[in-house]
């Protein structure tokens, strides 16, 4: 009798444990990685999520008392459409031709011409699901970009203005920065018109003027506001907002889109 009871108890324990394990397995399946938060803004790709700083401290400062923005940061914008990064309720003030062009870029065939999957630079402010690194010195701040192509932005902090002669239009433009209190302000002109703002294909022209304002309110977060002024494609200037998390225990890694890009592009759009 006692043996039967012990056997019954053993069976019961096994059954209970099995059901717990089954539930656990189901929960694991239910929590398959979901990529990024579709709401965007400050939620990096899964491969970076676990690297986000879990705690924060005061804003680090350089010897001259300025906020030190140095660090490895996760992407801070939703780049499906820059419209997602507007204030709620706002819309992109596209000119009619820009609306038409964006619609034309919505087909899979047209997506072939998106510079990004063709392994060309993203321009500003488009981002990739990879980190970027800020290197800060008093006279020069450098943004090192892991992707979409390995590239960099130089922000000249020496008080010089944009060149007065004709700038050769470029993917990242000519950037001059200065401090307004604890805010780094970056003024950029001289863009070419070859990049798309986002996956939706929102265009811009060479008249694009971008003003970025960066703050590091604590050690673990970079907050930024981007004013996009392009009288060639938009009826007025507008602002988008981003939030980059500090990433720890990682650094920039190699990423060469071009290595096999043509093959993957064919896969994508065929």
């Amino acid at each position: 009798m006692r043996k039967d009871l012990a056997t019954a108890l053993c069976v019961a324990v096994v059954l209970i444990l099995s059901s717990i394990l089954a539930v656990g397995q189901k929960k694991q399946e239910e929590h398959e990685p979901q990529g990024v938060n579709p709401a965007g803004g400050g939620v990096p790709a899964v491969s970076l999520k676990h690297l986000e700083a879990k705690s924060s401290g005061p804003t680090p400062r350089t010897a001259d008392g300025k906020p030190d923005l140095s660090g490895v940061w996760g992407p801070g914008l939703n780049m499906g459409s820059i419209a997602v990064n507007l204030k709620p309720g706002e819309e992109l003030p596209l000119q009619p031709w820009a609306i038409k062009l964006t619609e034309e870029r919505s087909t899979p065939e047209a997506k072939r011409t998106d510079p990004k999957p063709n392994c060309l630079p993203d321009g500003v402010p488009r981002e990739d699901p990879f980190p970027y690194k800020i290197v800060q010195t008093p006279k020069l701040i450098v943004f090192l970009l892991e992707g979409n192509v390995h590239s960099y932005r130089q922000i000249f902090m020496d008080g010089s203005g944009h060149p007065t002669d004709d700038l050769e239009p470029s993917y990242y433009g000519d950037s001059r920065g200065h401090w307004e209190g604890d805010t780094l302000v970056i003024d950029t002109i001289g863009f070419n018109d070859k990049t798309w703002f986002d996956g939706a294909g929102h265009p811009h022209t060479e008249k694009l003027h971008v003003i970025e304002r960066y703050q590091r309110p604590d050690s673990a977060h970079l907050e930024f506001e981007v004013t996009i002024d392009d009288p060639g494609a938009y009826t007025r200037a507008f602002k988008i907002y981003g939030h980059s998390p500090l990433l720890l225990n990682t650094d920039l890694m190699e990423y060469w889109c071009i290595e096999n890009g043509a093959q993957d592009l064919i896969h994508i759009v065929k």
Binding site: V36, P38, L48, M79, G80, S81, V84, K111, Y255, C257
Partner: protein
């Protein structure tokens, strides 16, 4: 398990994956569906922008079909704990992912269960950038 290389399509689960990947995942793969494939690795391509590996999946009659499994980029995979030799030719693996829209024998791997039982976050969906607004 070792000899049971069944074509284990675990149903076309409506998984509501609100994600697109770095290289426009949504154009190639059907994010509304998911599948599990089980088979033997025949080739590994540790390449940018996306790594791939190929798996022979056998049906109930023992006929093998070779599937192309697309992963995230090597840098993203490294940050997820992968190494270039974590999958080798001959390994038996299970892949959970999204199938190609056009019926091609391709899938976007989201998790890969390795021969030793480790379950690795893998795919383009995992490496989805914020391209969800398309």
């Amino acid at each position: 398990m070792g000899t049971k290389l069944g074509f284990l399509v675990a149903g076309l689960v409506i998984a509501a994956l609100p994600v697109l990947a770095h290289h426009a995942f949504g154009f190639q793969y059907d994010a509304s569906k998911s599948m599990t494939l089980h088979g033997v690795v025949t080739k590994v391509e540790w390449t940018n922008p996306h790594a791939h590996f190929y798996v022979d999946v056998r049906d109930e009659n023992g006929n093998a079909t070779n599937w192309n499994m697309e992963l995230a980029s090597p840098n993203a995979l490294r940050r997820l704990g992968w190494t270039r030799d974590i999958i080798k030719v001959g390994d038996e693996v299970s892949v959970f992912g999204a199938p190609a829209k056009d019926g091609a024998k391709m899938a976007n791997a989201r998790t890969v269960t390795l021969a030793d039982g480790r379950k690795m976050v893998a795919g383009l969906a995992a490496e989805s950038e914020k391209e969800s607004g398309q």
